[in-house]
Symmetry: C2
Subunit: 397 residues, 2 copies
């Protein structure tokens, strides 16, 4: 049995690059950018009017002139016009190119226009006021978005602005999610008394959807030859197998044997943690295998605590550790890392973690009442104190 830290270390040393694909920019939210986005021109690309009003020659104002004949209009989207007479003005619209020979914009609120003459009602005007100067935000060629960014709505706007209608993103691994266990029936079926419905695979499908990974699912009964045959095929066809169940000490927990017989190199089996101790991990050249214990909370927390970091490192993303403050003492005697369900709340900029009482790793419904796990490290002490800070793994937005 290895520690959580060792298990993480092994997994993070076993990451894999799945390559790059090009997709429409508008489909890329949540994907990982695999190119550097640079400014295709200056930002803004011209001296841009930033208030509706009039554009003047600042020198005329400086010399005391307050009334300016309106010489023309410069709307947004029109080619630049020129102020012909420096004692006149041009009406300008937000987003327009600043007219030639002008260098200050006075907003409509500070101007009175009558009979084609604009009178400026204020006494202070600054050189270049209300002008967003060409190249002020970014120069052509400057980096706007770094490679390996997780794409959000903010990046989508930038892609559009620089004309990237398609972008390069990390290809997603091809993943099969596999359940075993003769007690499981389909969601549509009515279980006999000794049966339950399949649920873990769907939790995993949803957890992968959060990473924008589409996955497939399959169920195999606890029959070793069938398991072996199907898994041999999956090892060939997929980049990653996520399994749920059949890794503990039961008489029908065939997975570790099957993997061994199929040449999957075991990296570890059993991690000093609760829930999810019987977690098995291994790999072939072509396929990584994460075999999670079958209890619902074990499967879920192992996916979040191990598969997520493995995925993020594989696609080049550096994740930030998040922490929270325990709101009450937690007593836990086993010498194991304890992933405890908590409800998070925010109070004056502090993130508080309140333990949710569940009935152990089988209590799927208790996940609904929580929104994260707090990771309480393996220690000789049995009490984690109120006010102490620990790492958290969130599973809600």
């Amino acid at each position: 049995m290895i520690s959580v830290e060792e298990a993480k270390h092994i997994i993070l040393n076993s990451t894999q690059d799945f390559g790059v694909e090009e997709i429409p920019f508008i489909k890329s939210v949540g994907r990982i950018l695999k190119e550097t986005i640079v400014a295709d021109r200056d930002f803004p690309p011209f001296n841009r009017v930033s208030m509706d009003g009039i554009a003047i020659d600042f020198n005329a104002f400086q010399k005391g002139q307050r009334e300016f004949k309106v010489e023309g209009i410069q709307p947004a989207g029109s080619p630049q016009i020129s102020l012909q007479n420096s004692e006149n003005c041009i009406e300008v619209m937000t987003g327009a190119v600043l007219p030639k020979n002008t260098n200050a914009v006075i907003r409509y609120e500070d101007v009175e226009i009558k009979n084609g003459v604009a009178r400026i009602m204020i006494n202070e005007v600054l050189d270049f006021q209300n002008i967003h100067v060409k190249g002020k935000d970014r120069k052509v060629g400057e980096i706007l978005i770094e490679k390996n960014t997780i794409i959000s709505a903010a990046e989508i706007g930038v892609f559009a602005t620089v004309g990237k209608s398609t972008i390069k993103v990390a290809k997603q691994p091809k993943i099969m999610i596999l359940s075993t266990g003769d007690e499981l029936v389909a969601v549509n079926d009515k279980p006999e008394e000794h049966q339950i419905r399949r649920s873990n695979v769907f939790t995993l499908v949803a957890a992968l959807e959060h990473l924008k990974i589409e996955s497939e699912t399959s169920h195999i009964t606890d029959d070793k030859p069938i398991l072996k045959q199907k898994i041999a095929q999956f090892l060939n066809d997929y980049d990653v197998l996520l399994c749920s169940g059949a890794v503990s000490k039961g008489k029908f927990d065939f997975l570790p044997e099957v993997f061994d017989e199929l040449g999957v190199e075991k990296r570890f089996h059993r991690v000093a943690q609760r829930p999810g101790k019987p977690f098995w991990m291994g790999e072939t050249n072509a396929c990584k295998v994460f075999a999670f214990p079958g209890n619902p909370i074990s499967t879920f927390v192992n996916c979040l605590a191990y598969f997520y970091p493995w995925y993020y490192k594989s696609v080049g993303v550096k994740t930030k550790e998040e922490t929270a403050i325990l709101t009450e003492d937690v007593t836990f005697k086993p010498n194991l890392t304890y992933f405890l369900q908590v409800k998070l709340s925010d109070k004056f900029g502090h993130t508080l973690a309140t333990p949710i009482k569940g009935n152990g790793s089988g209590d799927l419904a208790s996940l609904v009442n929580a929104d994260a796990f707090v990771q309480l490290p393996k220690t000789e002490e049995t009490v984690y104190k109120q006010g102490e800070v620990f790492g958290i793994i969130k599973y809600r937005l």
Copy 2:
């Protein structure tokens, strides 16, 4: 001009119920649950073995018996068998029904099995140990998931478990996102010097995708009759119009007039905030109109600060306010609410907000460097101090 608080108040009093639809449970992540999910049977549905090992009659152990002949096997997924002789035992697997006439499970680690006889190697065994008792987590009929929950992977597993292959969720509003402005060209086009590419509508599409709302986009040139004709159609065909641009004081900012002429009842125009002051909001019986100013950051922050809360309240979700601690003094003189871009970080359970220097509401690229806005309230003071706590609006996961 009204305050941010008044604008929010008006918007939250103008929410709308879009009804309910039934969808496959596996497609429901991020949607809002519109039914109560109850336990269809006890959880667990039977006395469930929670460790691989042997099941015995606890009384026999109590009387000092340590060796038990193995009478049979109870795998997971098999109908319950019975222990025939209370001095024997049954091998049991995790997830199996506890055999009749047994009431304690001793895990394999604490047992030695030789020639069909299991010898218990420990001296302490508890009544009902390693048995997850029928109904312990939830009783049949008990509420598992409340109505109006935002669905995450955790809920997906519960839907599966109780056999809800389809579930009722809030219908999404039908939304048209509309850009105006003659300076805008398509993402695929090469802009002339006085032009820029359309970007706000795509930022909004992505921001709605975050809410699992699919939307459509349209662009209309700054031509009042065309605007009027198209918007009349959109007001008929959509539940919500999100507009970007043409709401300020420019000569071609036709939207407020057009809405007025089309009988859209104005709720407000201009909010005491930066960025995004010229925000216009109104409604007909059938359609809500959020007309955001056209600067990229104005559009984005208004969508997050007003449309998001409007949507969540419309579909029945109570959102939690989030806060963060300013890491440096911020000076801001105008008597306006200031939505300032910040980079969030987490330190010992504290959420820190570090201001990101941008060049005003046109500086789209600066959004990439931040991950939230901090909402600095309108005040006579001009300095918001390091260490003070303010509400935040996040836009990354």
